[in-house]
C-alpha cells in the first residue's frame, strides 16, 4: 500500500507490515482523544520509523497516489489536531 509521509514523500509498504502501521495509527487516535502529548509524539516517531524502514521509497517520476498519510515527522498533537480540523 502506498503511504505518504507528509513533507517527505511516498513509500510502498508491504501488506504484511500494515497491521503494525494500523496499530500505531490506533494509538495516535487514542492519544488525540485523550490529549496525551507524550504518547502521541512517541507513536508518531515510531510510525515514521516503521514506514521508512518497511516501505520502499517511490522514485520522483512514480505518480501513484497514496491511501494513507503520516503527519509531518516531529508534529505535535496540537498541530495534527489543527490539520485534521481542516477536513472536518
Amino acid at each position: 500500500m502506498i503511504v505518504r509521509i507528509l513533507g517527505e514523500g511516498s513509500y510502498d509498504v508491504p501488506e504484511a507490515d500494515l497491521p503494525a502501521v494500523e496499530q500505531l495509527d490506533a494509538t495516535l487516535v487514542d492519544a488525540l482523544d485523550r490529549g496525551d502529548d507524550a504518547t502521541f509524539s512517541g507513536a508518531l516517531a515510531d510510525l515514521v520509523a516503521l514506514v521508512r524502514h518497511t516501505g520502499k521509497p517511490l522514485p520522483p517520476d512514480d505518480v501513484q497516489t497514496s491511501e494513507l498519510a503520516v503527519p509531518h515527522p516531529g508534529s505535535t498533537l496540537a498541530e495534527v489536531r489543527d490539520l485534521l480540523a481542516e477536513g472536518a
Binding site: 503511504v3 505518504r4 507528509l6 513533507g7 517527505e8 514523500g9 511516498s10 502501521v21 494500523e22 495509527d25 490506533a26 495516535l28 487516535v29 488525540l32 520522483p60 517520476d61 512514480d62 505518480v63 501513484q64 497516489t65 497514496s66 491511501e67 494513507l68 498519510a69 503520516v70 503527519p71 509531518h72 515527522p73 516531529g74 508534529s75 498541530e79 495534527v80 490539520l83 485534521l84 481542516e86 477536513g87
Partner: protein
C-alpha cells in the same frame, strides 16, 4: 477514525482543488507543471527565510551569552566592593538569561528540523519537475488515445497529491518561521533596552550604574583621604598661592572643591 485515512483525505481534497480549473487533459498537464514550478520557488523562498531565522537565533544566543558573562563580571565586582545585595541581583539576572538561552537552543533545533524538511521537499520537487517535464510531452503527444487519457489523469493526480503535500509542508514551515520571528523580535527588543530580563525590574544597565557610582565614590573618598593626609601633616608642600605667614587650616576647603 484512523488519523492516517483522515489526513490522506485532506491531502486528496487539496490536490483536487488545485486542479479543477483545467478543462482538458493537455491543459491540466501544463497547469500542473506550472504549479510545480511555482511550488518549488515558494519552497526555495521559505528555505531562505528559515536560514535567516536561524542566523538571527545564533546572533541572539551570542548576545545573550555576552550579557550573561557581563553579569558574572559585575557580580564579582560588586562582591569586591562588598555589596552582596548587588552581586545577588546580578547573579539572579544571569540565571534568568540562562533560561532564555536554553529556550533559544530548543528553537534552534526546531529551525534546523524545518530547514531539513524543506530541503528534502525542494530536492524531491526538483526531481519531480524534471521527470514531469519529459513525461508530459510524451503524454500530450499521444493523448488522443483513450488509454493515454487515463495515464494523464493518473499522472496529474499523483503530481497534485505531491503538490498538496508540498503546500502543507510550506504552510507548516511558514507558521513556525512566523512564531520564531515573533519570539526573536521580543528578545531583540529586550536586548535593545538592556532590560533583559525585565521580570527582575529596572531598565537600562542599573547594576553597572550602581557599580560605577560605588567605585566613583570610592575614588573620591580615596582622594579626599589623600588630601586630608597631606593637609593634616601640615607640611609646607601644601602651599598657599604666595608668601606671607602660613595660615593654618585655610587650604582645605578650596582644594577639595577643586578636585571635583
Amino acid at each position: 477514525m484512523s488519523v492516517m485515512k483522515r489526513l490522506s483525505g485532506i491531502v486528496q481534497a487539496k490536490a483536487n482543488k488545485a486542479l479543477d480549473k483545467a478543462e482538458n487533459p493537455a491543459d491540466m498537464l501544463d497547469l500542473s507543471y506550472e504549479k510545480q514550478q511555482e511550488n518549488l520557488q515558494k519552497v526555495r523562498r521559505a528555505l531562505a527565510d528559515v536560514a535567516t531565522a536561524r542566523k538571527r537565533l545564533e546572533l541572539q544566543a551570542t548576545q545573550l551569552q555576552a550579557q550573561a558573562q557581563k553579569l558574572q563580571d559585575q557580580a564579582k565586582q560588586a562582591l569586591a566592593q562588598g555589596n552582596e545585595d548587588l552581586a545577588r541581583e546580578a547573579l539572579g539576572r544571569r540565571a534568568a538569561l540562562a533560561d532564555q538561552l536554553t529556550s533559544l537552543g530548543t528553537q534552534h533545533e526546531q529551525v534546523e528540523a524545518q530547514q531539513q524538511q524543506l530541503e528534502n521537499t525542494a530536492t524531491r520537487l526538483q526531481a519531480q519537475v524534471d521527470a514531469f517535464r519529459t513525461k508530459k510531452e510524451t503524454l500530450k503527444a499521444s493523448y488522443t488515445a483513450s488509454k493515454a487519457q487515463a495515464s494523464i489523469g493518473e499522472a496529474v493526480s499523483g503530481i497534485s497529491e505531491s503538490m498538496a503535500d508540498a503546500g502543507m509542508t510550506l504552510d507548516r514551515a511558514q507558521d513556525k518561521i512566523a512564531q520564531m520571528q515573533a519570539r526573536a523580535g521580543a528578545i531583540d527588543e529586550l536586548l535593545d533596552t538592556g532590560a533583559l530580563p525585565d521580570a527582575l525590574g529596572g531598565g537600562g544597565d542599573d547594576i553597572q550604574k550602581q557599580l560605577d557610582a560605588a567605585s566613583q565614590s570610592g575614588q573620591v573618598d580615596a582622594e579626599l583621604a589623600a588630601l586630608k593626609a597631606e593637609v593634616g601633616a601640615g607640611s609646607p608642600s601644601a602651599a598657599l598661592p604666595s608668601s606671607g605667614a602660613p595660615v593654618e587650616g585655610a587650604a582645605e576647603a578650596p582644594e577639595a572643591g577643586g578636585t571635583k
